[in-house]
């Protein structure tokens, strides 16, 4: 149904080599662009994973854009994306504490 590219391989490699963050972000970008350029529907979860990867990089404003894309393309994600957008909005841009330090609790 969807053009996944190497989506599962990308996640797998991210768990194998979590230090290769740039590659992870780039590969997710490629999957999204490949779909957008063909006018295909970006597979469920892809915008959100990409948004999360950006958020972990401290790129909160860009992350919000992708959480919004997930939310409008996949209405089922609205509850979660609303929370993610709120979390990213509270973030004060790039942090020096790294991914873990940049993350705020979502569940309250």
């Amino acid at each position: 149904m969807y053009r996944w590219g190497d989506y599962d391989e990308v996640l797998y490699q991210h768990y194998r080599h979590p230090e290769d963050r740039q590659e992870f972000v780039e590969k997710l970008t490629r999957i999204i662009l490949d779909n957008e350029q063909r006018g295909a529907r970006v597979p469920p979860g892809a915008y959100a994973e990409y948004g999360w990867a950006l958020y972990e990089e401290g790129r909160a404003q860009e992350a919000i854009k992708y959480f919004e894309k997930e939310s409008s393309l996949w209405p089922e994600s609205r509850v979660l994306m609303k929370k993610m957008i709120a979390v990213a909005s509270r973030s004060r841009g790039p942090t020096t504490t790294g991914p873990a330090g940049a993350v705020e609790p979502v569940i309250r």
């Binding site: 149904m1 599962d8 194998r16 979860g45 999360w52 509850v79 979660l80």
Partner: protein, 215 residues
């Protein structure tokens, strides 16, 4: 060649666990759209296995026509809330868990087996998974799945040297990922023991008549 051999063997060795017609009435009544896939419980000794297996779950499930929540984001969100242990997540109240994410159903996957054993010029790689889908409104089980697969590196090898090389190659880099992918597809296939089409598939709501038990 290796891929082909693997596919063939997978077909030969995959153990089917379908037993009689399944009751899909609860799943049909719940009619979930959005499935939350939570981190995987690991009963094998391979500590990396659950994350690797988790990465193979969204594609086949979404291809069955369901919205699948972003598994890595969900995992990180749970970890940040102190739920880093998958068994804690599996034991948590599904209704409360779902309400955090806005899900309709939650998929709990467990690795029963994930091994590569070297035995005399051959490496046998085995995977075995179980799956439980629970309703977010009632916590009731909507569907369960189970799949086991084996790959024997010596199958189809002509001669001892080739077999020895293949056995070492398989032992050093077992075919876990392709096997996990195939196991998921087989476990979720429908008609079969798997999941009827979700709302994003055109046959949603029309694929159950031949196999569904009388109401």
């Amino acid at each position: 060649m290796r891929v082909l051999a693997l596919t063939l063997l997978a077909a030969l060795l995959a153990c089917a666990h379908a037993a009689g017609p399944r009751d899909y009435s609860k799943l049909v009544a719940a009619d979930p759209r959005a499935i939350l896939v939570v981190p995987v419980v690991n009963k094998s000794v391979e500590v990396e296995a659950p994350d690797y297996f988790l990465s193979t779950l969204p594609v086949p499930l979404a291809e069955r026509g369901y919205y699948v929540f972003p598994v890595n984001l969900v995992k990180r969100v749970l970890e940040d809330d102190g739920l880093a242990d998958a068994s804690m997540v599996h034991d948590a109240d599904p209704i409360r868990l779902c309400s955090i994410f806005g899900a309709d159903a939650v998929l709990y996957a467990t690795i029963e087996q994930w091994t590569a054993r070297y035995v005399l010029l051959s490496t046998i790689t085995s995977v075995e998974f179980s799956y439980v889908l629970k309703d977010c409104k009632t916590s009731a089980e909507l569907w369960t799945g189970h799949h086991a697969m084996q790959y024997d590196s010596s199958a189809g090898q002509q001669g001892l040297l080739a077999a020895a090389i293949m056995a070492v190659a398989e032992k050093s880099k077992p075919s876990y990922l392709p096997m996990a992918r195939q196991a998921n597809i087989d476990a979720m296939a429908f008609p079969g023991p798997g999941l009827p089409a979700g709302p994003y598939r055109p046959e949603h709501g029309h694929d159950l008549e031949p196999t569904s038990p009388p109401r």
